[in-house]
Symmetry: C2
Subunit: 353 residues, 2 copies
């Protein structure tokens, strides 16, 4: 792997650290609009593709049958902070399916958001699986199970739903295969943080899937409708997809349906840019899924989305990040490396053609 | 920057992420015993050099005048977890100097250790500067100030001690310059997380400084005695230099004075290996100061320190790390990349010469 530097971390005027990676910007016909680094090497997309994994929840009719709200559908696409509202919303989804938190097989961890963790601790409480950042995705799987099963003994039916051979996960995997056009039977498979399978796929195919999510082109009619509904749900309830202070939430609060972006573990970030009909997929080689991913995604959005002055100023705070120390003294900056700036330039030229 | 891959992150049998960087293993005469990547490029050593910054605390006589204990001297070299015992020990050091936490200019943050943060929150408390990972280093600076000043109005004298031009910081900088042999007046300077200056220095010189700390060779007699005392203090009180669950603490609890190792921010890790007369300096390009740094340091220790079977088994758990998910299912592994394994092999051959 010898991908280019995408992000430089400056301390004063000196380079302190840097992040390498690859970026694919693809249209719905599969044409490469812009790219950096190796976009053919399979990478694990992790949580960046939750919207693809949520397509059957809507396409199956489960979301309508159970009357899922925008907030609940957004949570099904989320890697959330585990804040109280996230946990409550996951519990409400499970209740609609006639289940509760004990059906979740995602495991338990303390909330991602420090203040949410401290709030739980201050109340003398422990986290539950509802606080797991994936609880909404898993609640969505369990809602999907209602539509697939429909009969008695739902609780018995859903046991082991995280396993690749379970009919719930087969449905989810089929949606991923259809959206990416990859043969998942031959793809390398790993186990994700929340115990479901994750398949190694080229960035080019992931970006294509997001172009399809943004346009409907290349998806079945049911999946195209599902993608539109999920994107709108997230735009209506961007807090649900991440939470307080998070990049995805902040960007979609500002830009609404014009951007659908979703971060994943180990430095993966995907987005649909429906106005341009483009999909984006990013992998940071070292797995940094915070500062590096975010600067790259912000630079790509700046390049490929038409922004008014206020939006442009906001996005610039995410693509050129000031670093302060514990006393609030400015000590450095995160900046896009020259190669990424050039890609951004190509996007801006394309926009004015 | 095009340093080699040092650590691979595997998910199942697939490469998920990787970390590049550079390693210098140097003897006290400055000879390169082993190296990977660019060891001449200046990098900010950050907290990895706290032992060098603590040399004047001992050499000045301040540590003796104030009767500092091993635990307190170890805390002066620490990036600690902010656990209750760390905070109490920093407060005790300040009390010996006739000062309190209000003299600290390091800023405040919640403890690094999650359980310590949750314990504070459960008590309805907020952190103070004593919980800052650098509070021991800063308490050490303030104890040094006692020896430098000696008069009345100490509180007035120490104000602004973090600034490069303050006489406390000039003494600290002089020790760093002497140990590394670098001209810090011409080195690039940044501001550290705790607001003191940090100087960009080549890994080769940092490793040399740690070879000197381990052997005394090349240091003034006062600094050589101070280095020995600080290394012994940390070996006696390894909990103080980091804390619960931390690499530095765990390794020095096992290996005692045979290894002195200290992590720093942004992927820097330094060590003295006194038995072999070697110094080690590592920089991970992407700034990862946890998993990547630790696997590299563990591999270097395996290569250059003679270990009995139990010690070797222990170190192997740090150089080949099993990764589990929220359900405790094994999902992957951190492994040293081939180049690092080869460097490790060269160390083992050298050991048996």
């Amino acid at each position: 792997m010898s991908n280019p530097v995408l992000v430089n971390v400056m301390r004063g005027d000196e380079l302190e650290s840097s992040h390498c990676g690859a970026v694919a910007v693809i249209d719905a016909d599969g044409a490469i609009v812009a790219s950096l680094g190796d976009i053919e090497r399979p990478i694990f997309p992790r949580s960046a593709i939750k919207v693809l994994q949520a397509l059957p929840l809507v396409a199956s009719g489960a979301a309508d049958q159970l009357g899922l709200s925008d907030a609940e559908l957004a949570l099904a696409c989320a890697s959330h902070n585990g804040e109280a509202l996230h946990a409550q919303t996951a519990a409400a989804m499970l209740a609609k399916a006639g289940l509760d938190a004990s059906a979740l097989e995602c495991g338990t961890h303390w909330p991602y958001l420090d203040t949410a963790t401290r709030a739980l601790a201050a109340q003398g409480r422990e986290p539950t699986a509802l606080n797991n950042n994936c609880s909404g995705k898993h609640a969505g799987f369990l809602c999907l199970a209602c539509a697939l099963h429909g009969g008695v003994n739902l609780r018995q039916y859903v046991a082991g739903y995280v396993k690749p051979e379970h009919s719930v996960m087969r449905e989810v995997t089929a949606a991923l295969q259809a959206a990416t056009g990859c043969d998942l039977a031959t793809a390398a498979r790993g186990t994700d943080g929340c115990s479901i399978p994750t398949y190694a796929l080229p960035l080019r195919r992931l970006a294509l899937a997001f172009a399809r999510v943004g346009t409907g082109v290349g998806l079945s009619a049911d999946h195209a409708r599902a993608a539109t509904r999920l994107r709108r749900a997230v735009a209506q309830a961007p807090f649900m997809v991440a939470g307080t202070g998070r990049f995805d939430t902040r960007v979609m609060e500002r830009l609404g349906e014009r951007v659908f972006c979703k971060v994943g573990a180990e430095g993966v970030f995907c987005a649909a840019l429906p106005e341009r009909g483009l999909g984006v997929a990013i992998k940071i080689d070292d797995g940094n899924n915070a500062r590096a991913c975010e600067v790259v995604m912000a630079a790509v959005i700046e390049a490929f989305v038409s922004l008014d002055d206020a939006q442009a100023m906001f996005m610039r705070t995410l693509s050129e990040v000031t670093l302060s120390n514990w006393n609030g003294i400015v000590v450095g900056q995160l900046v896009a490396a020259p190669g990424l700036r050039a890609l951004a330039g190509s996007g801006q030229r394309g926009r004015h053609q």
